[in-house]
């Protein structure tokens, strides 16, 4: 390939990229709010008034509505008709449901996933475990929590299904909302770090059934620990959406 052809190829690639970079305003607003929630700057139960949000972000109220609807579809927010949109506040039944879904998806991905024997996918699972180990060694428990999510995300990536990965992303976003109300990050993550390592090792050694069964037991234990802590929260576990 000559230099002239390479230049044309570069220009075409750049043009194609520029065509995909234009992001509609509503999507930008949704991205922004999603990040605010994910980083816990927007707390569970917080109300997002359309008017104020439009003024703050310099977009019209209609655009805000579109963005909020997108996040409602992702279950990050919840819309109460005629009352407003709130950051979702998962309650005990939500936790049970999320774990019921994870209990099928995660061991299922290990046992039946199209990439369950793919060295690259397995390597990502191990890397996520090591990321958590590294964070724990410097006492960065927020980092341990993040790495734990990467671990579970990468387990589901064994499925080789973008659709399933997106749904898992939604479940993990809900888990982050759950943990917003849990100050004791260390308590909920430290006991599972070694278990992540064991599961990763079983996977690497090809013991998929053992790994799947161990992960199922792990998820049951984690769910029960969370439900126990939730039941002891101040203010109890009321409706999933508070008053304004």
């Amino acid at each position: 390939m000559t230099d002239a052809n390479a230049a044309v190829q570069d220009a075409l690639a750049s043009l194609a990229a520029s065509r995909t970079v234009v992001v509609p305003a509503a999507e930008r607003v949704a991205d922004r709010i999603r990040a605010e929630v994910a980083e816990a700057r927007l707390r569970v139960g917080a109300r997002l008034p359309e008017q104020a949000l439009g003024a703050a972000l310099q977009v019209s109220r209609n655009t805000v509505r579109e963005a909020l609807s997108q996040l409602v579809a992702e279950r990050v927010l919840i819309r109460v008709p005629n009352r407003g949109v709130f950051v979702a506040q998962p309650e005990a039944d939500d936790i049970r449901d999320v774990y019921s879904a994870r209990l099928v998806i995660e061991p299922g991905a290990i046992r039946y996933g199209a990439r369950a024997a793919d060295p690259a996918a397995l390597s990502a699972v191990r890397a996520a475990y090591r990321e958590g180990r590294g964070a724990a060694e410097v006492g960065d428990w927020t980092g341990v929590a993040a790495a734990n999510q990467h671990f579970h995300r990468d387990v589901v990536a064994l499925a080789g299904s973008p659709r399933l990965e997106r749904e898992m992303g939604r479940l993990l976003a809900e888990m982050r909302l759950v943990f917003q109300r849990m100050p004791q990050v260390r308590e909920f993550h430290e006991p599972y770090l070694d278990r992540n390592g064991e599961i990763a090792a079983m996977l690497t050694d090809g013991h998929v059934e053992k790994a799947a069964d161990e992960l199922a037991r792990y998820l049951v234990a984690a769910r029960d620990q969370l439900l126990d802590a939730y039941a002891r929260l101040p203010g109890g576990t009321g409706p999933a959406t508070p008053g304004r």
Copy 2:
């Protein structure tokens, strides 16, 4: 309980019900379009112009946009920025992805589902199989196809997770779009009817691992048969969204 108390109770129940019956216009529009697609009156690739739709349904264009966005989030429609919204037209990669997801979720629900041993849930699976058997006996292959979807829906219900059931509903909606392009309903469903019955029997007999593994093989076979037929479609398998 006296008659006067019963009347008050009735009135209160009626009032509570009326509070939940008010459906926002955008949601009614989305429900309407969803049904048109599910019943194949709106074909894959069809374009849905906002203006015309608003005039036809007597709602404003903004309300149409909200409804369309909801269906885009469900993957029933696909939005091409600045060009319009189209009924999604799954291509080969979409089929691969949907099956990769189902290959994890369905056997996973059998193996790890919270309701995998629940007699009522297992009874629903058997009933769906019998529904298909009944439809086949009168040559109603559309009915066989519908019963087949109920079968798979009810397998996933073994998970005991409303979130997972909703996601499965989306995957099944996509399968219906796939089959819109397949005139030979009988060919794609008849071979699997007996297999549905075998899986249901294994479940009833408590052979969950055998049932899960058989379902995985079934899904692989179904996927490969579909991909083979898709490759032979007239017009080939182009981009997932046609021109206007």
